[in-house]
């Protein structure tokens, strides 16, 4: 049966709005404007707000069926949303201030997707919200139970329960930070720019240099402290990462939920022989700290070791074994600087793209992971007979794009990638 949310909802939604109006009116009164007029205006605003809120409440309905949660909202712009219960990863209860006073709560539904796709239901009495949450989560759990658990491509080591795969030494970490372009740029500005300004008789140079020096210090600290002692460990539960200087953080990387991997090689690092590997992991925690830790496989490592670790995660598929096919020379018209570096390759396990002149990046995505495949063709590309193919993943560092491929090739890519093994 279709239910409505609590009738107090319009009042709670409008609360902040009314408060703002009261503040504005109050200020006007203090400044000497006439009180009766202001009260009239306030009254009218409140009534209008309540009226709209009530109508919008009337048109908000929700319903739980065997498989779905159905939410219909909207007066002018009607929206009807269906959420599959078995897809629910989390149901959160939030109580904004005003709602808390009335012991009301708002439910937010997370299907492991983007923030935009989250759905909310506001407001319900707290008890009812908790009950609804319990019912939905139980239903979701039951619906998922029959499925076999995702096979973990990284089975636990046979002998030792824990095995250290890789550890970053402090000197290596320091070296890696000092050779990053952001740091070098700031350093150059201070070392070259400030003396230059001083020599030119501008003492303001010293002042201008201060934020850059602070910036360098900050970058050093921000890059160094969280990643100090970075250790990658294989445990019986999967892959664990541990790092930190002042506060040690430990996160588990759910290997089965890795959507893709990106290998980054900045210009200077290529000369030295270093590489960084980042991951896109589905449903990573929202906190910033967690996100940085779970999305870094190795902050710096030799290419051989990095590829070895990546192959471990991808169940033995080595991204270097497939040779990317470079783009057609026509791409030079639309991307003159980096067209030569563009490449894409597909086999039955992986899709790999490569691009970048100064920083070379290689994005690797297992064939069964893309959320969708897109082909985009701008007017200039159309003239040249080119198109770009995108493979879409949940938000994260991996962005797989096959840029400026020839039309026929682009079409072929889309059709091949659409068939997920």
């Amino acid at each position: 049966m279709t239910r409505r949310v609590h009738p107090l909802t319009p009042l709670l939604r409008g609360g902040l709005f009314t408060f703002a109006i009261v503040v504005i009116i109050g200020r006007n009164v203090v400044e000497g404007q006439q009180l009766p007029q202001q009260v009239l205006v306030l009254g009218a605003a409140v009534v209008a707000g309540l009226a709209y809120g009530t109508v919008s409440w009337w048109y908000t309905r929700y319903r739980i069926t065997a498989d779905e949660l159905q939410i219909d909202t909207g007066v002018f712009f009607k929206k009807s949303r269906r959420i599959r219960i078995e897809r629910l990863q989390a149901v959160e209860i939030e109580q904004p201030l005003l709602a808390r006073l009335f012991s009301m709560a708002e439910l937010s539904f997370d299907s492991g997707g983007t923030k935009d796709a989250e759905a909310t239901l506001a407001f319900l009495p707290l008890k009812q919200a908790e009950q609804l949450r319990a019912v939905l989560l139980e239903q979701a759990h039951e619906a998922r139970a029959p499925d076999a658990a995702e096979t973990d491509p990284l089975p636990p080591g046979p002998a030792a329960p824990e095995e250290i795969l890789y550890r970053v030494s402090p000197s290596l970490l320091l070296g890696s930070i000092l050779t990053q372009s952001a740091f070098l740029g700031a350093l150059a500005t201070v070392v070259i720019g400030v003396p230059a300004l001083l020599l030119a008789g501008q003492p303001v140079g010293l002042v201008l240099g201060v934020p850059f020096v602070l910036g360098i210090g900050n970058a050093l600290f921000k890059g160094f402290a969280p990643m100090y002692g970075f250790t990658l460990v294989r445990t019986s539960q999967g892959l664990r990462v541990r790092s930190g200087l002042t506060s040690i953080r430990t996160t588990t990387i759910p290997v089965g939920r890795i959507q893709g991997v990106v290998l980054m090689e900045p210009w200077l690092w290529r000369r030295i022989g270093w590489m960084r590997v980042n991951l896109t992991v589905a449903g990573v925690g929202r906190g910033d700290d967690d996100k940085q830790l779970t999305s870094t496989l190795v902050p710096v490592a030799s290419p051989q070791l990095a590829i070895h670790l990546v192959a471990l995660l991808l169940d033995g598929a080595d991204p270097r074994t497939i040779e990317p096919v470079t783009a057609s020379p026509r791409a030079a018209w639309v991307d003159p600087f980096t067209w030569r570096t563009l490449g894409v390759a597909v086999n039955d396990r992986l899709v790999v793209t490569r691009r970048g002149f100064l920083t070379r990046r290689t994005d690797v995505v297992p064939r069964r992971k893309p959320q969708s495949v897109r082909c985009v063709q701008g007017p200039l590309q159309r003239r040249l007979g080119l198109a770009t193919v995108h493979v879409d993943l949940p938000s994260g560092p991996v962005r797989l794009e096959a840029r400026h491929r020839q039309a026929v090739e682009a079409r072929g890519l889309v059709m091949v990638l659409a068939d997920q093994p």
Partner: protein, 162 residues
């Protein structure tokens, strides 16, 4: 060039012509508003050059849009295959998106007052990726609901974990 955006074996299902009508109404209103703003600036603020410029820009954009709208409507298409959905749209920037049914998380059907008057709606698909951005505009209302229900059922049947 059109081999990139050709239908995938199954022919494209096109959207309702009423989308053109709605688009033209919106453009007409926006153009009139733009011209009115330009006139207001001209007369009330005595800024002849700016006022006339605004009028001309509004008029130009309006005319250009009017010409493009029928082509945009004709460019919308979707095709339901066994395992996935193909959607194409766009005239200047052309797009083709493929979404496997198992990846569909939410399916929304939305329609504003103007759309409802003409009996069309917008179908929106969400996956776990913000870039998927699958939209079909101008679907006849009944067909939109039917499409949504079909997609939801198929999505359930094929639901793949992340």
């Amino acid at each position: 060039m059109d081999e990139v955006f050709a239908p995938p074996g199954v022919p494209w299902t096109r959207v309702s012509q009423r989308l053109t009508t709605v688009g033209q109404i919106k453009t007409a209103v926006a153009t009139v508003a733009g011209i009115a703003a330009g006139l207001a600036v001209w007369q009330l603020m005595s800024a002849t050059l700016v006022g006339v410029a605004i009028c001309l820009v509004a008029l130009g954009l309006g005319v250009a849009n009017m010409a493009l709208i029928p082509r945009r409507t004709a460019a919308w298409g979707y095709a339901e295959r066994d395992d996935d959905l193909f959607v194409t749209h766009g005239v200047m920037v052309r797009r083709l998106t493929v979404v496997p049914y198992g990846r569909m998380q939410f399916v929304d059907v939305t329609s504003g007052p103007l759309n409802r008057r003409f009996g069309i709606a917008t179908v929106r698909l969400h996956t776990a990726s913000a870039d998927s951005n699958v939209i079909i505009e101008g679907v006849a209302a009944g067909e939109a609901i039917a499409l949504r229900d079909r997609l939801t059922v198929l999505g359930e049947a094929r639901a793949a974990g992340l």
